[in-house]
Symmetry: D3
C-alpha cells in the first residue's frame, strides 16, 4: 500500500517510466507515510483512440498529447 | 473531473469510441453537473481471454461478446 | 461487459446517478454493441480533498466542482 | 456485482486465467454473498516496463515476476 | 504484483473480507505464479445507489445484491 | 491525460494529499511529457479492513500501515 494506477496515451519510454515510478514512490514515502516495499505503481498505456478529453479522442486532437 | 474508465473486450472501432466518448461526456454534463473541459474517458480494451463473466472467459462463451 | 467506473467528487444525488447509469448503459448498447444484462456502472464518490485537477485539490479550487 | 480488476505483468496463459477467473468467482459466491451471474473478472496485462514494485520496474528486477 | 481491486456494494463484514483476501491471494499464488509478499487486494465498498447492473441501481432492484 | 488513481488505507491529511497531488503532477510534467491542465489525481481512501497485503488485512497487521 498504496497502489498507484497511471492511465495515459502510449508513447513514453521505459526510461521515462523508470524515473516516474521512482519519483512517485519517493513522494509517497516522504509525504504519504508509505513504506517503500509496499508501494506499487502501474502504467496503463492506451492508444490515442482510447482516451478522450472534453469528449474528444486524443487521436482527433490537433496537438500531440 | 469526472474520470470514466470503460473496460471491455477489444473489438470496437475508433468511430464507435468517438461516439461513445461524446455521449458519455454529454450525459455527465447534463445529468452530472460536470464541466466538459474536465471530463476524461478512457477505454481499456482487453482480449477475450482476459474478461470473465459468471466465471467464464468471454473467449470460452459460445456467443460473441 | 463492459464495466464502467466513474470517479468524481461527491455531491450528485441518487436521482442523478439513476439517470446517468441508464444513459451510459443505453449508449453502450447502441454504440458499443454491448448487451444490457452484462453492463455494470460504478460511481466512486470521493471528497473534494481527494481529487486534484492540474495539481490543485478540488477543495482548494475557487469554483465549485 | 462485484467487479474484479486484476492488474499484473503479462505472461500468464489463457488456461491460468481460466482457472483463476473460476476460483475468484467461486470465492466471491461462497464468502462474499455474490451471485455468479453478476460477477465479472478482468485481467489487465501490462509489460514488465509498466509495473513497479518498491520504485523498481519489474523489467529491472533481477528475479522473474 | 498483482494488484486486485474488488468493487461492490457495501455490506460484507471484515471476516468475509479476511477470508476472501486470503482465498484470492492463495489462488494467485497457485494458479498465477505470483509471490505472496507482492500480492495486494483492495475492496472498494460503494453504497447501493452507486452500483448499477443492466442500467438499474442496486438500490432500485427488488432483490438484495 | 494522464489520470492517476492512488488507492490506500485512510489516514492521510488534506495537507499531505495537497503536497502529493502537486508532486505527482510535477513529476508527470517533467518526466512524462504531460500538460498540467490535463492531469488528474484521485485518492481512494479505504478502511484498514479493506486493503490486504500478502493475504493479510492491514487491520490485522501488527504494525501501522
Amino acid at each position: 500500500m498504496p497502489h498507484v494506477q497511471i492511465t495515459w496515451v502510449t508513447g513514453r519510454t521505459p526510461e521515462q517510466k523508470r524515473k516516474l515510478a521512482e519519483r512517485v514512490t519517493q513522494a509517497l514515502i516522504e509525504d504519504g507515510r508509505a513504506k517503500r516495499e509496499n508501494i506499487q505503481v502501474t502504467f496503463i498505456d492506451v492508444p490515442p483512440t482510447d482516451y478522450a478529453e472534453a469528449g474528444l479522442l486524443v487521436a482527433d486532437q490537433k496537438r500531440a498529447p
